[in-house]
């Protein structure tokens, strides 16, 4: 059930109406049941895996608490490590086994070994990267005594399976979402209305901007040799716009949907294409993942506390593993590696005595443009289905000729303008959704433009969300 489908909105409406008629405990049980049903629509076979992921968080967390209460730090650590290993092991089996087996077979073949078609054929359960990370953050937070473990299995089950964030996040922190599961929610009309506007903005981003951009971007990536420099450049620009609006749109839909039940989810994007530098970009892009990686990978590795070399190593390791999180494929690894390199270079620059001149133009315009250009170029490696296509795309960008491609500029410019509409409004008003506090006339005008574009795009069930595959 796609978030951008009529089925989903029917499901959301019915579940929200029933939910607010129940008492607190029944609300939680009901949400767990409908979230499991929601997941079962994708693939019922993995419901057991979802329960398993909950169990390997719930019972070790209670054991950790008990061990800590008894002063047995070693036992608490063992329980934490066991739980994290079980979580990562689950992720490794379901998400990365094929990748490593294929890599091993290729290596074997290179050295003359037998590499006949051996594959595990494991299907990737949808959303696994997200709910496994939820489990890990919960257990680690309990171990670090940042959080009291819950005594109710249903509360942890809800934290993991809450359907607005189940498939593609945001990766909620236990410290933020679990208390919301544990405490009664209050019906507030403001929350509902805010959620509706967030859903409108999310739909606009996804259906109008991302899907329109995909129509052209997909073509250039399907066969770059057929397109010239202008078209390939437009295709790359549009993919950059597509992936941002696709995921930010999904996050808006998730946050808006959660509001319907009185929950607040973490903000996942904060205008990343207006970032001042690459480090700023990573504070604004997929915030829930980048902050998770910072807190549960970068800092435990030593962060910046163990000298320059180790800091750079930690940055590279975190970003490369962050790339691998997106999928079991070398292109994601390389994408993460490149971003790690950019971050290292940025930190080197920051620590050096060499400084570029700064003025308002550079800060407001040139720097964001440079960051956007760098991020956009790097998406090429993320999006390309193979090394061959990457090579063809790069070659075409440099030497693909210009003839006949200029007419791509008009739709590209229109899509960029549509992309900027919600972003600029949000930046100028510093409100999310930007409708908050807007004069009724302006609010009506913005909503009208968005609705007209939505109807004119009219392809609600078409493109699946990119991040659903991760």
């Amino acid at each position: 059930m796609q978030f951008n489908s009529l089925h989903y909105f029917g499901f959301l409406l019915v579940t929200a109406l029933v939910y607010w008629r129940l008492n607190f405990r029944h609300q939680n049980l009901f949400l767990v049941a409908v979230s499991y049903a929601f997941y079962a629509v994708w693939d019922w076979r993995f419901l057991g895996l979802m329960v398993f992921a909950t169990a390997i968080g719930f019972y070790p967390a209670l054991a950790i608490k008990k061990a800590q209460a008894n002063g047995n730090a070693l036992l608490a650590k063992r329980w934490m490590v066991t739980s994290v290993v079980a979580s990562l092991g689950t992720l490794a089996v379901f998400k990365y086994a094929n990748f490593f087996v294929d890599g091993f077979m290729a290596l074997l073949a290179r050295f003359g070994g037998s590499a006949d078609s051996f594959t595990l054929g494991i299907v990737l359960p949808v959303g696994i990267s997200f709910y496994i990370f939820h489990t890990i953050s919960y257990v680690v937070d309990v171990y670090q005594e940042k959080l009291e473990p819950t005594n109710f299995f249903s509360e942890l089950a809800l934290f993991l399976a809450f359907y607005p964030q189940l498939i593609a996040g945001p990766i909620a922190r236990a410290g933020s979402l679990l208390p919301q599961c544990s405490n009664p929610r209050t019906y507030r009309q403001d929350d509902i209305v805010t959620g509706i506007y967030q859903i409108l903005v999310g739909l606009f981003r996804k259906v109008v901007v991302a899907d329109s951009a995909a129509a052209l971007a997909d073509r250039t990536f399907s066969n770059p040799t057929q397109y010239n420099q202008v078209q390939l450049l437009c295709g790359l620009l549009l993919y950059s716009i597509q992936i941002y609006n696709d995921f930010a749109g999904y996050s808006d839909l998730a946050r808006g949907s959660a509001k319907m039940f009185g929950f607040s989810l973490i903000k996942n994007f904060d205008l990343p294409y207006f970032a001042q530098n690459i480090s700023d970009f990573w504070k604004k892009w997929h915030i829930s993942l980048s902050s998770w990686l910072r807190d549960y990978l970068y800092i435990p590795l030593g962060g910046s506390r163990k000298g320059k070399f180790r800091t750079y190593f930690n940055l590279m390791a975190t970003m490369t593993l962050g790339g691998l999180w997106h999928g079991a494929s070398w292109n994601f690894v390389f994408w993460g590696f490149l971003h790690g390199s950019y971050l290292c270079l940025y930190h080197l620059y920051k620590e050096s005595s060499f400084k570029l001149p700064t003025n308002r133009f550079l800060q407001e315009f040139a720097s964001p443009l440079l960051v956007f250009g760098l991020a956009t170029f790097t998406w090429l490696f993320f999006r390309s289905p193979s090394e061959q296509v990457t090579a063809q795309y790069l070659k075409g960008l440099v030497s693909g000729g210009l003839a006949g491609g200029v007419y791509w500029l008009v739709p590209t410019a229109i899509i960029i303008a549509l992309h900027l509409l919600p972003d600029l409004a949000q930046k100028l008003r510093n409100k999310d959704p930007f409708f908050i506090g807007l004069k009724p006339t302006w609010a009506t005008a913005f909503a009208f433009v968005m609705l007209v574009c939505l109807v004119a795009s009219g392809d609600l069930p078409s493109q699946p969300f990119i991040y659903f595959q991760f």
């Binding site: 409108l200 329109s212 909503a447 609705l451 007209v452 109807v455 009219g458």
Partner: protein
């Protein structure tokens, strides 16, 4: 905390509906809107593009052959035109066969798509035995409702038949969904899945079927024989389809001819069953006020050579050549 109100959104929603409902009814304004260019099924997209191209380069099409994949594979316009040319008639034919459609869906697609692109003098609708007993109507068509064909019809269907009817009275609903990726409209072809076609605009179906038959005959449909009992039952949706066809033919001022499509003899239990089908189809067509033509007779074995068939109702190129030649020869006097 600053509060949000739903009033602007409700007002905007109302304005949007009014804008579309009024705007799309005013031709000058409707022209300003991005042109609906829906994501058809690849086969439909291919046929429609080809039809538009034929009309653009060669003028109006005289005869439009409509029906399911059996029309797509069995009717060769070039052969028919050659036959007619030899008889001194310069008539043009277009093969508008659309795979997997039942008769009522064929009429629906002819109305919605084909007649808007071509203005033929005659529409020839071919019907085979199984299609006559089909229970699928356009309104309950999974082919249409699951998005293979046209999203604007899908949008309504998901909400049920009543809403489907309601949305078809709404210009906005019709426009909605047909506008996927409207901004990229000038950059045709939009549908990246469009199959490559040969010089006549045919996709790979013919080739695939022939090849499949060679290498994996078991993959093809096994003959479920049409029996006399089956052909004596109701033709529930065919009646509806032919009524709609008559209304459409009258409205558009075209001749609409119903023709039974021959099938592999193995598809029929006995010759009488086939004769029953032809007889009932003729009676039904005439009852609805449509023309009926049967250039192939009621002989079940009129097309009995194995090399003429790719499977039990799709013909090989040689079979299509034979059928088209016979059809054109026998029917020319009626055209």
């Amino acid at each position: 905390m600053e509060q949000l109100s739903l009033k602007p959104l409700i007002l905007a929603l109302g304005l949007t509906v009014v804008t579309y409902e009024v705007g799309l009814r005013v031709p000058a304004l409707a022209k300003l809107a991005p042109k609906p260019k829906p994501f058809y099924d690849a086969g439909v997209s291919d046929r429609l593009s080809k039809l538009e191209s034929v009309v653009k380069s060669g003028g109006p099409v005289d005869v439009l052959a409509v029906g399911s994949s059996v029309v797509r594979t069995n009717i060769l316009p070039k052969t028919m035109m050659q036959v007619w040319s030899g008889q001194g008639t310069n008539s043009s034919v277009f093969n508008a066969g659309l795979s997997a459609l039942q008769p009522d869906e064929v009429v629906f697609m002819t109305e919605k798509l084909l007649l808007t692109s071509a203005n033929p003098k005659v529409v020839v609708q071919f019907v085979r035995g199984e299609e006559a007993v089909s229970e699928v109507t356009a309104e309950k068509s999974s082919t249409l409702s699951k998005g293979r064909i046209e999203r604007s019809w899908q949008a309504g269907q998901e909400l049920g038949d009543n809403v489907w009817k309601l949305t078809h009275s709404s210009k906005m609903a019709e426009y909605y969904g047909a506008m996927s990726n409207a901004l990229a409209v000038p950059l045709k072809p939009l549908n990246g899945l469009t199959f490559p076609t040969d010089a006549e605009g045919f996709g790979p179906t013919r080739v695939l079927l022939s090849e499949t038959r060679k290498i994996a005959p078991s993959l093809l449909e096994q003959p479920e024989c049409n029996t006399r009992e089956r052909m004596s039952g109701a033709f529930p949706t065919l009646e509806i389809a032919l009524s709609k066809a008559k209304a459409l033919a009258t409205k558009r001022g075209v001749r609409w001819v119903i023709v039974p499509m021959p099938e592999h003899p193995s598809k029929w239990k006995d010759p009488e069953a086939f004769a029953d089908f032809v007889g009932r189809l003729e009676a039904l067509a005439k009852d609805k006020g449509l023309e009926f033509a049967n250039p192939f007779g009621t002989d079940l074995y009129a097309f009995d050579k194995e090399e003429w068939w790719s499977d039990y109702h799709h013909m090989s190129p040689a079979g299509a050549e034979e059928l088209s030649r016979r059809f054109a020869s026998a029917w020319s006097s009626k055209y």
